[in-house]
Amino acid sequence: MKRHYYLFWLCAIVMSLATLSYFFLHPSIPIIDEYISVNKMPVIRPDYTDTVIPPNIAPLNFVVKEQGMQYYLKIHSAKGNNIDVFSKTGRIEIPIGQWRKLLNINRGSKIYFDIYTKDKISRWVRLKTITNSIANEDIDSYLVYRKILPVHSNWSQMGIYQRNLENFDESTILDNRFHGGICLNCHTFYNNRPDKMLIGIRSKKYGSSALLVEDRTVNKIGTKFTYVSWHPTGRLAAYSSNKVHQFFHSARNEVRDVIDMDSILLYYLVDSKTVKTSPNISKKQRLETYPTWSPDGRYLYFCSAPMLWSDRNNVPPERYDEVKYDLLRISYDLKSDKWGELETVLSTKDTGLSILEPRISPDGRWLLFCMCSYGSFPIHHQDSDLYLMDLSAQHTGQFEYRRLQINSNQSESWHSWSSNSRWIVFSSRRRNGLFTRSYLSYVDKAGKVYKPILLPQKDPLFYDSCLKTYSVPELVTKPVQVTGEKLARVIRSSRKIPTRLPITMATPKAGVIPEPWEERE
């Protein structure tokens, strides 16, 4: 009986505290019948103004960076009920249910944010209305990215995560915390679908390999994949194998730099489980990387640069800052497994810059790529910008391309298209020069790319103290179903699909598994 007595009082105290905290944290919405209007746009962080937002995006929570004792936000659009949010601190957290409903019934319309602040003399002040547009087309519901501390040479905390863009749920696909500190490299999906993917793995303990996920089956391919592109049929994946080296800058703002001392393109045939290459994509004196298939599967686009050094072990090599990549393509016939002749799509001679990370929209119309002053790793180049090429507009043998207005004065790099070709996600360091974040932008049918929005978080101040960088953002239509435990089991397992590299021109050192470029020697 005595125990029940205590239990009763415990429950009573907990409930009282819960009730009090509810009223403290959720004060009632005030009725604002009198206010003065000022002709000033409110400053909000993150900047969610004058842009196009996906109709299925999670609430764009933000902080009002204006002086005020209290804050009130009214969100409204052509149809549906208004959303009222009241805050004492300026932190605006929009209720997800109302938000989703409002966005969904107002596709293609404008959405308005009216912000009111209460000044020191208890007078409500209305700032100018923030206007955004709601796109008609959804963005793919999931974003897969890698989160990692700003790595220099070592890594210990690293993981691949998937974020539901329709809410704030984030789940782990694979975390290296429990798997002996493996390095998780790029993750590549087949046509934005999570049921077929490749993840590159590097590990001292388990070796370098690639995890091939098909539905819920996971296999380990016993060779290193760096940058991968699935053929639209899903029957083969072109990939690069790169001898990547990191070095440092003594005085540049970004300390790190990365160079491919050598690289080569290969392709993996899923059915026959074989690795092949072609002489045109594995030239000895050139560095081939960043393969990407055209959506019709007829062309493989990739980047290629002349190798300017003979000593492949001296890092950084001399003239490392002169390496510039051209954008090439080569035709391919899947039925006969035959490769055609090389074509230059865009030459560094014309741009003066290194052309990197080409990705073609699924409708085949647009080619998005990066350009920076030199090298193959745009994320470490402050001058790296995004460019868009119209593959349907070829004049005098040249495709038209332009620098996008959405670029900042910091690095823009890795990007991915949504399955409907209307959205892109890209990495940018525009908030600061060190921590990479993911941004979403709308691309209309004419190829206009709209002001990007920072991947929204429940806590609008989340990024102000987030020490992890978000890299390799990839849009997918559904969540990845395979569990991290299963992936980890396959990583640890000694079973793997053996691969025989097609280039064997030299006898490798006894006991050493050669890298492809060594084989090519």
Binding site: N154, F248, V255, Y320, N432, D464, S465, L467, T483, E485
Partner: protein, 629 residues
């Protein structure tokens, strides 16, 4: 009966006083002798520092896996090590609770004679802290398991079915809170039920659940791999065994975990034959003199109390003092002083462990800041690697290197070293502070805001961070911050790509940027002296004009004389004079050398050291013989 009834309160009081005294001494020893601030600081010795940030999103991460709550609580409590007395209090409370739970279990298994065992865990904890190793999370998991054992024994209903339900509920909760430490709970409950309560069904359930609960809850529900599901938060966890630094003193933690189950098991094994004996032969009062003394001794409670207390304090004191690791303590102290720029304390602490390159590295910094590097550096055992910790053996000493780089103005090197450090040692406030500072010096206020934002969520560094955040807001250029402006004036501007640190190249680039960078100059000269590159040393002597040295620093004078003797040429000192005392030392050194000509180098070194051990003459001739770490 009446007699024993009267004795009981006084016995309990005696026990309580002993326990109180024990834990008072425990606390004072931890606070004043061990100094928890050194464990918090950790240098690069303690690699499992638990990061703690205020806020729901940080807490939320810990909810997603078994053991997360214990990790969260440990991370929170460990932050109090930042304040010496508070850290000692946390450990004392932890030790007291473990002691109390141990005592309760021993009472429950009816082992009054073994109740002294309750003092063993606190003594073992003292050893762990005396040796400056970090196992706070693992011992918190142990404490949680013991608290649940206490709860189980306390709640134990008479109905067997109900006890099973209570056990299962406690098991599920405990596994979620303390992960693998649940195995200790299951083991203790099994021992109790099988051997003392003679409830074999319940005992078997305990054993079975030890195998099933981690599998179902850990592996199937939370998706841990099997090894982690059973070992998370235990001393056998791969998270401890995968890292060499974390294995220090792990044996003691194993003993802590095994102590109670093995004691109970041993007790039962001892009791079974004893019980049989009692049944066979009733005990008679012994008339032997030894037994009489024992009987008298047990009959005088105060004496017994005094003897037992003395014994406890002597044993505890002996064990703990013999476990002390003074070398490690000195290393941590010097690192702590270097971080807090307490230069005189470094020079004082050096004498306690003079053979460490890390300490000499800090000593060189202290000498520079006390204006003695160019005249007194050879009073300490030098080596070319001590100045920048450039050897392969010190490749991971990022933390220590970073401070030298910051002071010199090599911000990129410092940033790189600190990020490597953060990856190894997690987001420690000391690292975040320095990274924020570097970002501010580099005028990257965006990155600085992120580091400061993270710091503002810590318990004890928020004020520093908020102060700088306000400064950045009001003055983005930080033009009123003298330290930042000074470092911007010194900061290297020549950019080139590199993989290996080449001191000479960097120091010359720093002097090219700002010829008045005194530290770069003194380190450049020190580097040339340490590496014996006297020609380069002499080439840079002209730079003395850029500084306000009253004369030629003593070690430089000695090097100039050696250079002149070796090359036969006169160095142009631009009107400066070498002091008579240096000439005298040179003559003295030369005389001894001539006298010992022909004898082996070690003999010569030993004969010379007492008179000239602090000179560059000595280092130049014998340095290679004296600098083994």
């Amino acid at each position: 009966m009446l007699n024993s009834f009267r004795k009981l309160p006084s016995q309990n009081l005696g026990r309580s006083i002993r326990s109180f005294l024990f834990f008072i001494l425990f606390y004072l020893y931890l606070w004043l002798q061990v100094d928890p601030r050194l464990i918090y600081h950790g240098g690069e010795t303690i690699t499992s520092f638990p990061v703690f940030f205020r806020g729901w999103s940080f807490f939320q991460q810990f909810l997603s896996y078994p053991g997360g709550l214990t990790e969260y609580l440990s991370a929170f409590l460990f932050q109090f090590f930042y304040i010496g007395w508070a850290g000692a209090l946390v450990v004392t409370l932890q030790a007291w609770l473990i002691c109390a739970c141990t005592d309760y279990f021993l009472k429950a298994v009816n082992a009054p004679r073994l109740r002294w065992v309750r003092f063993v865990p606190p003594i073992l904890l003292l050893i762990i802290y005396t040796r400056y190793s970090y196992h706070f999370t693992t011992t918190m998991a142990l404490l949680t398991a013991l608290l649940f054992v206490f709860l189980y024994l306390r709640l134990l209903p008479k109905s067997r079915l109900l006890s099973m339900v209570v056990f299962i509920i406690l098991s599920v909760i405990l596994y979620y809170i303390a992960a693998g430490a649940y195995l200790l709970f299951a083991a203790l409950c099994a021992v109790y039920e099988l051997l003392f309560n003679h409830n074999w069904r319940m005992g078997l359930l305990c054993l079975l659940s030890a195998a099933i609960i981690p599998y179902i809850e850990g592996a199937l529900i939370f998706g841990l791999n099997i090894a982690d599901a059973f070992s998370e938060l235990l001393p056998s966890s791969p998270k401890i065994f995968a890292y060499e630094a974390r294995k220090r003193m792990v044996t003691i933690v194993f003993i802590l975990y095994l102590l109670l189950p093995l004691t109970a098991l041993g007790l039962r094994l001892w009791q079974i034959p004893a019980e049989k004996k009692v049944k066979k032969k009733p005990r008679h009062k012994s008339t032997k003199p030894g037994a009489k003394i024992l009987s008298w001794y047990t009959g005088v409670p105060l004496l017994r109390w005094a003897v037992e207390s003395c014994l406890l304090f002597v044993i505890a004191g002996t064990v703990v003092f013999s476990a002390q690791d003074n070398e490690l303590k000195t290393l941590l102290e010097v690192d702590y002083y270097a971080y807090h720029r307490m230069w005189p304390q470094i020079l004082e602490a050096y004498h306690r462990h003079p053979n460490s390159f890390f300490i000499v590295n800090a000593v060189n910094r202290a000498l520079y800041y006390t204006g003695r590097l160019s005249s007194n550096m050879f009073s300490y055992p030098q080596h070319p690697d001590t100045l920048f910790l450039t050897s392969k053996r010190h490749i991971s000493a990022f933390w220590k290197k970073a401070d030298v780089y910051i002071d010199l103005g090599v911000m990129n090197m410092a940033e790189s070293a600190l990020i490597e450090s953060m990856i190894r040692l997690k987001e420690r406030p000391q690292i975040l502070k320095r990274l924020a500072f570097i970002s501010m010096v580099k005028a990257d206020s965006g990155a600085a805001r992120v580091y400061l934002g993270a710091l503002s969520k810590t318990l004890f560094h928020a004020d520093w961070a908020n102060n700088y955040l306000a400064k950045i807001e009001s003055d983005p250029n930080l033009s009123t911050d003298d330290q930042i402006q000074h470092l911007r004036d010194m900061m290297m501007e020549t950019d080139y790509g590199f993989t290996n640190y080449v001191p000479e190249r960097i120091l010359l680039a720093l002097l090219q940027k700002n010829r008045y960078n005194r530290m770069a100059f003194e380190y450049l000269m020190a580097w040339h002296l340490l590496t014996g590159q006297l020609d380069k040393f002499v080439q840079n002597l002209d730079r003395l004009d850029d500084f306000d040295y009253p004369g030629i620093p003593r070690n430089y004078e000695e090097a100039i004389l050696i250079y002149e003797v070796l090359t036969g040429s006169k160095v142009d000192l631009k009107g400066r004079q070498i002091t008579q005392s240096t000439y005298q030392r040179a003559r003295g050194f030369s005389d001894i050398s001539n006298r010992l000509h022909g004898s082996n180098q070690v003999t010569a070194m030993q004969a010379t050291a007492p008179y000239f051990g602090d000179t560059y003459f000595f280092y130049y001739n014998f340095g290679h013989l004296t600098t083994a770490e």
